[in-house]
Amino acid sequence: MQHVVIIGNGISGITAARHIRKQSDCKITVISGETDHFFSRTALMYIYMGHMKYEHTKPYEDSFWEKNRIELKRAWVKTIDFEEKKLYFRLPNDDDKEAKIGGSISYDKLILALGSTPNKFGWKGQNLAGVQGLYSYQDLESLEETTQRIKKAVIVGGGLIGVELAEMLHSRGIEVTFLVRESSFWNIIMPPEESAIISRHIKENHINLQLSSELDEIIGDDNGQVKAIRTKSSEQRPGEEIECQFVGLTVGVSPNISLLKVPQGNMIGREKPAFVLGVGGIKLNRGILVNEYLETNIPDVYAIGDCVEHEIPPKGRKNLEQIWYTGRIMGETIARTITGKRTKYQPGIFFNSAKFFNIEYQTYGQVPAELPADIKTFYWEQSSGIICVRINYSAENQSVTGMNTFGIRMRHEIWDEWISSAKSIEYVLENLSKANFDPEFFRQYEAEILEKYNTETGSSLQLKSKKRFFSKIF
């Protein structure tokens, strides 16, 4: 019976384990140093805000793992011997510098689902007490501890985790200053209109959002505790010192591959190679390099989830895509390969979602921040200023290529079908009600949306079907 070992019990590793179990009888071991059981990382914020407790974030009961013969091992991996097919564990409390080893385990197939780790860009003071990112359960614990009695916090970096952290701290009555390098929130991902809505909404929720503002250094007190930060001076605003007792670093995440890295010597002045060789000769760049089958360059070793860098990304995809859903899809895919049917990683139409305070966001297909030359865009915004829909479509044949929605829930299945079968913008707008996934009695905006399109383009499209209460029932 072959032994499949998975390092990492996040969504990728656990999805892989579950699907391998569904399709085979092999021995499965999942190793994690973070927690005993799988929990939903995306729900960490709700624990801090008191919506849930840690136990609620565990999607499976603790008895699930034994019932499904998935062995769980709580340990940090120290190193891997790819030749011998063996993992060596760190001793508890091992500070990583000593060469002590706390046991080992052999594998036939190894899946690396190592996740990622918050970025730190070498700021002065970035290792002071009270400075941290938010990714792991341990991050949550230290956040809980350091923010117990503080009054002011600064968050650096405007991404999804930044907004979440702002909401979290604000819920505890902490005054939050949010430094964002860009001139509008998340405008490297979002088109300007959507970005403006979020920027406005963040401010409405009493967060002191400082746009075009970059961190210069973090200042500590005599006890090595953060007491303030200084921003860089720029054309828009002079540098200033902001008092705070906590600094959240949310400037993105990087693949968590320190375990596999070996010291590379001085690279200054040399051209950056396409990859470097890590422990045992595994190919690394920003992440673990894999081919389209999620195989690394070492036989029987695979990588999935956040720690992966695709050498040949699927069409229209980036080579690093650190999203819950892609982690899950990679887990589903690798299970096929492990159980004997070598299968390419083939995510379908891109989709994602998030929530910015009270604004729900969904996206399907491609909606880049800057409109490509061959793509046209249609944008509608409701007068409340927190609900909007954007649909991008091909200038050449009118087929829809992507959409963003704030405040209106849309059906994944319908949009997936519309985009993959290249339905025209007019077809989509006429049938938009079909995609509506809002609860009953919610106001529907399809007519308003269509009217705007008609006015802008001089067309006279008609709504095909309106979601009617009684027609839906009978």
Binding site: I11, S40, T343, G348, E360, F474
Partner: protein, 511 residues
């Protein structure tokens, strides 16, 4: 600031409300005994209570306990002599206590009503209304830090209070006689007489549904579904359950809560109720036909089209209280597989019990025989159902356990009507909660805040529709979902996704 002030007023009013229980002096007179005892028992009573008559008691507890002891003695004798019709029940004791009372509370009922109920409502609203100024959206902040909502000292205290209240209400109403007095002004206004314990309970119930309904609407005001649903609950409780029956009895008609359906309304086929309906002319017959039509036709048809939510979270009184007063405790329901298993045994067991009990009662009604199949004593079936299910389970446990086991303990584990509605919902209904493709992030908000203890996430993360007999369709899972994954829908019965797809939407790998 305003909210803190409101909370202080509410707590003060609640404290005063509890204090009113000891506020009166009591004097039992022979006049009172004459009014409350049947002629043939009057002499016994006069002898039994000779030492109490014309004595003034300043301690209500002493008076009520002495009185109750005396009654107990009398009943003991009647039991021994098999003189059942002489026995004295709670309502008589209650009215003796009320009649014996004198003092500040008796003389100032209206003022004391304002000071307790009025101030409590005022304080609660001051606490609730300012929430509307905050941005609309799900705000469950701090629930798990709140000792009232997490089975900590405050939750346990509230639970203890509620349990004691129900025990007193059902079994020792004489101890809360003063609370019925507080409601007398309202009772006089609506039906012209003094408040019975059930009127007092109905009033308290309705006020709770209304005030906490306002809280619920403000909390979930970003969802029109929640607003309309809550208005429906408030309407049915106030107009159909509370006021309409009083109007009926004012008109000398048999009164009935028109939305209460057998087998939740387990006494529907009891002989005294059947006799009353059959002897009240056309209107009585209408009520009888209405009551039968509701469970024979109304339930299956409505559940087929809308799911059981049309009743459980839109109309029902128990559901109404759970959704409003009980909303702060919804996260306390147990989501484990084990709880689900217990739930299935218990609730269907109660349904079976209710059916057998009713068959027994009808058998006795039509044949006059007190033994169903020759060996099942129908009277004790009836009384044990009333005691165990009607009083203990639905009242004491059903509401008293809100802060301990969540707000739907009764609806989930005990209600026979919910079991009946649920069987139809599970097997033949257009209703389901649809999950949205691959968008679930397994965060667990839906499961955590499901009052029925359904592990919603287990379905959502698999891309499977939620078709569960227990789902009451409150819509909170959909409201708290941060990614727009869940939606309550009615569509073709065959279109419910009952088996999870192999892999979720978004993965195009070849099969």
């Amino acid at each position: 600031m305003l909210q803190k002030f409101g909370l202080i007023i509410f707590i003060a009013a609640l404290g005063l409300f509890i204090c009113t229980l000891g506020m009166n002096n009591y004097t039992l007179t022979s006049d009172i005994l004459e009014k409350n005892f049947k002629e043939d028992a009057l002499l016994d009573a006069k002898i039994e209570f000779a030492s109490m008559i014309d004595q003034s008691y300043s301690n209500s507890y002493t008076f009520i306990t002495e009185l109750s002891e005396g009654i107990k003695q009398l009943n003991k004798v009647y039991n021994a002599q098999q003189e059942w019709d002489k026995k004295i029940y709670e309502d008589t004791i209650l009215s003796i206590v009320k009649a014996s009372a004198n003092g500040y509370l008796v003389d100032n009922k209206g003022f004391m009503f304002l000071l307790t109920f009025g101030m409590a409502i005022f304080g609660a609203l001051l606490f609730i209304l300012p929430e509307a100024q905050k941005p609309a959206g799900i705000k469950n902040n701090g629930i798990y830090f709140n000792p009232a909502m997490t089975r900590k000292w405050l939750g346990i205290s509230i639970g203890t209070f509620l349990i004691s209240f129900y025990l007193a209400l059902y079994f020792k109403p004489q101890y809360i006689a003063n609370w019925t007095m507080l409601i007398d002004p309202v009772s006089k206004l609506i039906k012209g007489g003094e408040a019975s314990r059930w009127f007092m309970y109905g009033f308290l119930y309705t006020i709770s549904v209304l005030v906490m309904g306002i809280r619920y609407i403000i909390k979930y005001r970003h969802s029109k579904y929640q607003i309309i649903r809550t208005l429906s609950i408030m309407f049915f409780q106030t107009c159909i359950a509370f006021i309409l029956p009083e109007i009926m009895s004012n008109l000398n008609l048999p009164s009935a809560d028109l939305k209460n359906i057998w087998p939740l309304d387990y006494s529907f086929f009891f002989n005294y109720r059947l006799d009353k309906l059959l002897n009240s002319g056309a209107f009585g017959i209408f009520l009888l036909v209405w009551g039968i039509a509701l469970f024979v036709v109304g339930v299956p048809v409505m559940v087929y089209f809308f799911g059981k939510r049309w009743y459980c979270s839109w109309v029902c009184g128990c559901g109404g209280l759970a959704e409003t007063l009980g909303d702060p405790y919804r996260q306390l329901s147990d989501k484990s597989l084990k709880a689900w298993k217990i739930e299935r045994y218990l609730i269907h067991g109660v349904l079976a019990f209710a059916i057998i009990m009713t068959i027994g009662v009808l058998y006795t009604y039509f044949t006059g025989s007190y033994n169903l199949l020759g060996f099942i004593p129908t009277e004790s079936l009836k009384s044990s159902y009333g005691f165990m299910i009607g009083s203990i389970f639905s009242g004491v446990v059903g509401t008293g356990f809100y802060p301990l086991m969540g707000n739907r303990v009764w609806c989930r584990f005990g209600c026979p009507l919910a079991a009946y509605l649920g069987i139809i919902q599970r097997f033949k209904s257009k209703f389901r909660i649809t999950t949205n493709g691959g968008q679930c992030i397994s965060c667990g908000n839906c499961s955590t805040h499901c009052e029925m203890g359904i592990d919603v996430r287990a379905y959502a993360q698999k891309g499977q529709d939620i078709v569960r007999s227990s789902c009451v369709g409150c819509g909170v899972c959909s409201s708290v979902c941060p990614r727009g994954v869940l939606n309550l829908e009615n569509a073709e019965t065959g279109s419910r996704v009952m088996i999870a797809p192999d892999v979720l939407l978004g993965n195009l790998m070849e099969k």
